[in-house]
Structure formats: structure tokens, C-alpha cells
Amino acid sequence: MPAFRTVAPAALLAALIVVTPAWAVTSLSVGLQQEPTSLDPTADATASIDGMLTQNVYETLTVVNEQGEVLPNLAKSWTVSHDGLVYDFVLHSGVTFHDGTTFDAEDVKFSFVRAMAEGSVNPSKSIFAPIAAVEVTAPDALRITLKQKDGFFLFNIAQGDAAIVAPESVETNAIKPVGTGPFMFTDWTRGDRLVLSKNAAWRDAGSVAIDRVEFRFVADPAAAANAMLAGEIDAFPGFPAPELMEQFEADTRFKVVVGSTEGEVILAMNNSDEVLKDLRVRRAISHALDREAIIEGAMYGRAQPIGSFFAPHHASYVDLTGTYPHDVEKAKALLAEAGVVAPEFLLRVPPFPYATRSAEIIQAQLADAGMTVKIENVEWGFWLEEVFRNKNYDLSIIAHTSPNDLGNFARGPEYFYGYDNPDFVKLWDAIKFEADPVTRDALLKDAQRLVADQAVHGFLFQLPKLGVYAQGVTGFWQSAPVLYQPLAGVAKVK
């Protein structure tokens, strides 16, 4: 296998600092539905921490762009050994953290070792599991040796969980984040707003068009709509209410951009349940579901159907939505074949609009096929404990928002799917270790087919990314392959 090598774009450290006159301060206010309780992505999984801070305040060695490609970031280039185990990174030099301390390979080593350590509370500790050693070979060079090949490694270290932090500031990052990115943390009024300001010392500061970013936390969908309409908020990249999109589309002051996220919404089935263990029952449920009606009713038509556990915008996606066409008679026949008479299922629904709205439609669809569903709306802490940890459920509705999470089906019967299939585990291991893009693509397609064929869950739709922007605001991503949104490319013209 040839070594592959990447070099940073020509814009090497252009030390050209654009002095912005005080009267030309460009300020952008961005609406967010979810407010985090702390600001350290290496210790808290809340998605809005990444949404606001990763690649803006914190940076990583590599970065993922809107197309899902891995590009250089703090590492300006790297080489990978022929056996795929040794990564040699060359880092940008002359980089400083926002508190003035110098960034070098020791900081990268510190960040990785901290995340891997025993007692680490990193929410994605498993992405560091393949690492055998991290060595500093020069102030601007770092070698990471893996225990086993990992096709996702460069993608994974582009996530906020692998943010590069400094030993001098790591303890206070939860309340006062310090990174190396294009924006510096300025202020956080908990419950109201978080303010970032442009870092003029950033290596590509000339490409940053916004001087001040204000994130406003608006949880209520109607309040979010009013804040946009009143001109308080310029951009709402994850607008919480699909039912209000039409109103914004009709209004010339706004742009509506509908894209995709990494969130696969599934009707999760507890595969370790006595009745649901039977493939025929799971297939019966799949035939009873009418995705189009669910998407229309729960998402106002603004979502793409999925037939397996894979994002449609991904290059290796196969359309399997035709595997179990909506067919009530077929569903009844499969139930009869399995010897199951009038089954009853407990559907525990977490407090997310996509889930609560889908639940009643699904209840009605399964009732048509002779299945009784009892809906129980539960709160998120309860869901995590009872459904996720204790597997105390028959059915649930949940979006899996992580990229590359097809590996969930290889987690064994302990995982809340209760799904146990050694063939899939083997297939997923092959995918993880495969670095050849063509072979990997074929394997990913096989994995999607296997999961669809086994009807492990009811596969519903891909969670859309609904963006509402004031005219003149540009540069926000249409789709979200990762949890962050770099603001370096965002601009606002009045």
C-alpha cells in the first residue's frame, strides 16, 4: 500500500493581519436551541459545545469539511507508514493559544495522553483506544503509533473530543475555553448568550469575515421563530421546527436551507426481547411502517427516508428503502407465520419532537397490522437510564447522530439494541482496518445490506438540518457531516 501524503494549501502562515477599523465591526448573532452546561468538548458530550466551539475556539490536528473529507488543520501535513500503523504529523509552528502560551507537539501529546488515561472522562474515549504510543519527535513533529489499523483514525481526531488543549488552561476550559482557533472566547452569560471575538493572530485571519459572534440560546421553537422575525438573530443553523419552514420560505427577508445531518432516526427494537428476537416479527413491523406518512406527519415532508443505518449523503450509501415496502397484509402474514397473535409492545419515547411526533403515527400503522403499541413519553435522563442502560423497552424512537456509527451493530448483546451477530462484528472489523477506498466502499455497502436484511430496527428517516438565515448571511454549511460549524468561512453583508 503506498504511503499517502497531504500538504496544506498554499496559504501557509500569511502573517498579514488585517486591521479592521472600529466602525466596521461585523457582528453575527446565531441562534441555538440547546445550551451546554460546560464548555469543554473533551469532558462533555453535549453537541452544542462542538457546535459553537470546535474549529472556532478549539482546533484539532485534522478537520472535516462539509463534504466529509479529512483535511489538514493544526497538522499541516502527515505521512502514514505502509502497514498503516505509524502516523507522522508535521504541525504548524508559531501558533499560540488564546492565553498567549505557545502551541507545540507537547500540547498535542498532552491532549491525547490525557484523553487516553485511566480516569479520563472523555466522552469518546474509544476513539483513542487504537493508539499505542504518542511521541514528540520535534517541537513541530509528532508520531502516533497504533496498535491496529484504523480507517477512521484521521476522521476521529478531527472531532471535538480530540481538541488540542494546553496544560496551562485545561482545568478551566469548562468555564473559560482556551484554544488556538480563529475565534477567542469572550463571555458567557449562562442561560442567555455566549460571545466569541475574532482572533487576529490566527494563521489565516484574513479569511475570517466576522469580528464578533453572539450565540443566543432559544429553546422554544415559537420563540426562535419570533427572534428571527424580529431581526434579533441572523442565523439559526439548526432550526427546531419543520412546521415553520414554509413561513420563512415565503418571507423574502430569509433564506431556508434544508440539508442532512448524520442522524439516522430509527424505530429501535429490543432484539433481546422474546418476541422481537424473531426476524419474522421484526420484518412484519418493517412492512407495517409507512415511511412517507411518518415523514409527512412528523417532519412536514422535510426529511429523506432511509432503509438502513447510513446517511444518504455519504458516498458509500445504498438505497435500501425498498427492502420492506409498506404492506399491511404481508406484515400480518409474517406475524401469523411467527405464531405471534396480537402482540403488545411498549414504545418508550424520548422528549424530542421528531420522536414524539413519529410515535403516534407509528402506533396507528402498527395497529393496522394487528399490533398494539403502548406509548410512554419519557424524559431524557429516564430514557438514558431505562432504555439505553437497562434495555427496559420493546420499541423506542431515537436519532443516532454520530458519524460512522454503523459499528453500533457490532457492539454485541450488551448494547441497548440487544443485537448479537458475529458476522456483522467480522464485517465491521474488516471495515475498520481497511484503508483501500474501493474495498472499503464495497464492505460498507455489504454492512448496510446486512443490517437492512436482518430488519434490526425500523429504519425511518435521516434527520434533516434545517437552516434559517437572514439574507446576506453566507457560508453556513447546508449539511452537517460532523457536529461543528466552522465560522471562519461565514460572512454577513448588510
Partner: protein
């Protein structure tokens, strides 16, 4: 008098103790683990265990409660699991806004309700009375959050006179007031409806008394009779209702803060419950209880001030 106050203070302390114990018990029985909520569903089991150890969640429940109580009586309410800052700091940064909102709403309620109630009573059976009664009927029926939405659509979206929500902080008091005026109005209008009715009927009751007739007979003007002679004697039921409304306001702000995305205690308690941030929930519920108990205590003192007959004989 001193004995009365001491007795009330003892009752106050016992109430708070009972509330904090009840909250602790309920939050411990409620399924949910702060470590999973914070670290999410991708976290490994050893990372969760490490976080639980870090937060001190592995100690026995009764021990955690006693440790909290020991700190609380010395003014140390512990450090929030999810915010990673002292609970007292979290509450202190939000309390002024919530108190200002509740205070403003109370002032508006009392001023408006007394004016409307006295007006309706003095125009008993006439058009003005009917108008006030119709308004209060409507006010009782309309939920505060719905009224809030209407206010926002009119004053923020259409007219753009006031911000649709958010709070700019206290640096600019005028901007702060502008941010609070709509939420306070939404809270106050609903409360006013109730209080105006109570004021009206209490006034009507008093106006039947012979001393009112005597006051009128001595040649005093109707305004003086109403405000100087009738109202003070009608205050006991009115103050009772105001006391109950203060307790309602504490819960009412939770809804209103959500609609106007204000950084107050209501949103904090909601976030803390979702995050299973027990230590924050406990301090806050105890605080709410303290506010309600204090309001009742102030009402009792107000009775003594309003009605000398209720004062203990010395």
C-alpha cells in the same frame, strides 16, 4: 411578638429541612445518572465510572445528603455536577433577574388590580363594573404563555418596540427594563385578573358597613371614602391573595422565562433536572421553598400592620 417571630423562624428551618430531604429522596429514586447525561451514549463504561468517582456519586446516598446539609448550613451549597461551578454562584448570577421579574410583575399586579377593583366596586352594577369583570374573566382564562406570544408578535415582531426576548444584563438599566417589560406584563395581567376580582368583592363587602355611610354623611368625597376608609379595611383578603400570588409567580416565571428565553432561575432548574444535577436542584427547590415560606411570613406580619386587632396584647 419576639416569641412569635422565633416560632416562625423555627418552623421556617424545619420546612426547609423537610423540603431538602424530600427533594434528595425523589431525585435519588428518579431513574437517571448524571454521568450518562454528561458523557452521552458513546462514552465507555470506564469513562462514566471515572466521572462518577470524580463527582463523588459513589458515596452512600445518606452520606451525600448529610455532607450537603453540613455544607449548606455553613453557606456552602457544593459544586454543580454539570456546570462545574459552585451552586451558590450559579444561583447568584440568575437570582437578580428572576427577582426583578417577579418584583416588577407584583408591583404591576398590585397597582393595576387595586385601581381596577376599587373602580369596579365604586361603579357597582354599572358599565365600568361590567367591563372590569369581563376583563378579569378573560384574564383568568388566558394562559400567560399564550398572552406572551401575542405580546411578542405585536410589540417585537410587528412594531419592533421591544426585544422579543433575551436579557442584556444590568449594565444598561434601561435596556434591562425593556427586556423585562413584556414578560412582567404577561405575568401581571393574569394575576391582576384574579386580584382585581378579590379587591372588588372585598370592597363591596366593606362598603356595606355603616362607618362608610357615616364617612359619606360627614361630607367626605367619594374618592377619599374609598381610598382612605374602605380600602384599608378590605386589605386583609387582598393581602392573603397577594401572598399566594407571590408563590405562583415563582412557578410562573419558569414558563415565562422559557418563552422569552431569559436567563433566570426557572431555566436553570429545568436544565438541572434534565441533567440530573441533583446538587443544583436541591439548592434551588430549597430556595423556592424559602421564598414561598418568607412570602407567607411577610403576609402574616402585614396582617398585624393592617389590622391592629390581630396584634397580641402586650
Amino acid at each position: 411578638m419576639i416569641l412569635l417571630i422565633l416560632r416562625r423562624l423555627l418552623g421556617f428551618a424545619l420546612t426547609l429541612l423537610a423540603v431538602s430531604a424530600a427533594v434528595f429522596f425523589v431525585m435519588n429514586v428518579l431513574p437517571g445518572d448524571p454521568a450518562i447525561v454528561i458523557l452521552g451514549i458513546e462514552a465507555t463504561e470506564d469513562a462514566r465510572a471515572a466521572l462518577r468517582a470524580q463527582l463523588g456519586l459513589n458515596d452512600p446516598a445518606i452520606w451525600r445528603y448529610l455532607a450537603w446539609l453540613g455544607g449548606a448550613v455553613q453557606g456552602d451549597f457544593g459544586v454543580s455536577y454539570s456546570f462545574k461551578v459552585p451552586v451558590a454562584e450559579l444561583i447568584a448570577e440568575r437570582l437578580p433577574m428572576t427577582l426583578a421579574l417577579a418584583g416588577l410583575a407584583t408591583v404591576m399586579t398590585v397597582a393595576l388590580a387595586l385601581a381596577l377593583g376599587v373602580y369596579a366596586a365604586s361603579h357597582h352594577g354599572r358599565a365600568g363594573d361590567w367591563a372590569v369583570m369581563a376583563f378579569s374573566q378573560l384574564g383568568i382564562a388566558v394562559p400567560a404563555f399564550w398572552l406572551s406570544m401575542l405580546l411578542v408578535i405585536l410589540f417585537a415582531v410587528t412594531l419592533r418596540w421591544l426585544p422579543p426576548g433575551g436579557f442584556p444584563g444590568w449594565d444598561d438599566p434601561l435596556a434591562a427594563l425593556r427586556a423585562l417589560i413584556m414578560p412582567a406584563t404577561a405575568l401581571a395581567l393574569v394575576q391582576t385578573a384574579v386580584l382585581a376580582r378579590v379587591t372588588r368583592s372585598a370592597m363591596l363587602e366593606v362598603m356595606r358597613q355603616t362607618y362608610v355611610r357615616t364617612a359619606t354623611a360627614t361630607g367626605l368625597g367619594p374618592a377619599r371614602v374609598m381610598w382612605r376608609h374602605a380600602l384599608p379595611n378590605a386589605l386583609v383578603p387582598i393581602v392573603t391573595i397577594i401572598g399566594m400570588q407571590v408563590a405562583n409567580l415563582v412557578t410562573g416565571t419558569i414558563v415565562i422565562e422559557n418563552v422569552f428565553y431569559l436567563p433566570g432561575l426557572g431555566r436553570l432548574v429545568f436544565q438541572a433536572i434534565s441533567n440530573r444535577d441533583l446538587i443544583v436542584v436541591q439548592a434551588m427547590v430549597t430556595l423556592f421553598a424559602a421564598i414561598v415560606v418568607s412570602a407567607n411570613f411577610i403576609v402574616d406580619l402585614a396582617y398585624l400592620w393592617i389590622d391592629p386587632r390581630l396584634r397580641p396584647r402586650s
